[in-house]
Amino acid sequence: MKNYFSPIVYFLILLLANSCVPDGPDSADQLDIVYTNFDSGFNFSVPATYSMPDNVILIDRETLENPGTTPPLADFIISQAILNRIRSNMTARGFTQVSEFNDPDLIILPSIAVGDRVFFNYDWWFWGWYYPNFSPEWEWVYPGYLPSAITSVETGTVLLQMTNPKGLTSQNQIPVHWISVINGIVSGSSGDNSNRIVRAIDQAFVQSPYLTR
């Protein structure tokens, strides 16, 4: 009987199999993702006002190297692109921005993860320079959901936390009712970044229809 399975046939099968590998991402923006999660027990139509800082902070580790100081800040243009887009979306959803000293119902904390991890329970000292009535003993709490579905990210990932300054629990926990993680959006040229930031933050609100008054 003829030997059908000569080495040449195996080689051809190997070549064929190799050519069968489908494509993957071929540009950075194809890796962009917008993740949101929220506290389903919180009624987002009740709060009317919100506050947010004038700068976006950089988080490269879980604890602030020098507690009591201001953490590293993001590039001004990038910070403004992020903050402006949050502001326009919050306004469109019926919320009013006020100063952090005017008893806001919500406080939005924008940060950028430097490195391949995003920390959801990072040190409160990072916001010691901004958050009203700050206490370093505070902890984060994400009521009813687990944000840690994300374990590793691209550097330049934007983290938005919508906190409730009036919801401090007896365990010194500040509730985070909504969270968004925008993967790897801050990288490359700033022009390209601005467009991607606008699209991504808009998408975070689009996929969060409950965020409205």
């Binding site: 009987m1 003829k2 064929l16 993957g24 962009d32 993702i33 917008v34």
Partner: protein, 201 residues
């Protein structure tokens, strides 16, 4: 039957089928290029026709019209879906989804030719065995995988065109259909086979 036991039985079956001496019987070995059109639940996951597919078939004729053998195939499906949102509970993720599915049918089969050996031999065949299905969704940093061994059947209609005593080409249509399970629902796909056939007498 556990998946490990299934694998053992299949391995033995394939080994037996491919190692039997012919003793004067006609055998057909075909290498098929097999563009595949997903249908049903498979099309709901990936709707794009794939040219990344092929299979190998081997039949040993027990008489001039009826033969038995087996098929091993590889179907690779892929689709890129930009701006797709995945919702799960309170969680939502949006991004460009890269969806992959591979289907590996491993099936004992029977073939029946409507005519005696000649230049054109229309036939029907029927295979039944397992299909190894593996799905993957890649979405930025997220990856979701699922896989399942599923029982499947595969009817086929086609014709072999004998070019010489030992060489033929074949053209056929196959329909793969599997039974759904807890890991994956029923899968199905339509395959067009264009093959190079080696005939041994």
């Amino acid at each position: 039957m556990t998946s490990n036991t299934s694998k053992k039985y299949l391995f033995v079956l394939i080994l037996v089928l491919f190692s039997v001496e012919s003793f004067g019987q006609i055998t057909y070995l075909s290498f098929n290029f097999a563009p595949t059109i997903p249908t049903g639940n498979t099309a709901n996951f990936i709707g794009v026709t794939s040219a990344r597919s092929g299979n190998i078939e081997y039949y040993m004729m027990s008489d001039s019209k009826l033969g038995f053998g087996a098929e091993i195939g590889f179907i690779s499906l892929f689709e890129k879906i930009p701006g797709e949102t995945l919702n799960s509970g309170t969680l939502s993720i949006t991004g460009t989804q890269f969806r992959y599915q591979t289907m590996v049918p491993i099936m004992p089969a029977a073939i029946y030719f409507f005519t005696e050996p000649g230049p054109i031999r229309p036939y029907v065949s029927f295979g039944a065995g397992v299909v190894i299905n593996a799905r993957r969704i890649e979405l930025g940093i997220f990856q979701e995988r699922s896989s399942a061994f599923q029982i499947g059947i595969r009817p086929e209609v086609g014709s072999i065109f004998q070019l010489s005593e030992y060489v033929a080409i074949k053209l056929s249509g196959k329909y793969y259909n599997t039974l759904g399970g807890s890991k994956l629902p029923a899968q199905s796909a339509l395959g067009i086979n264009l093959g190079f056939v080696v005939t041994q007498r």
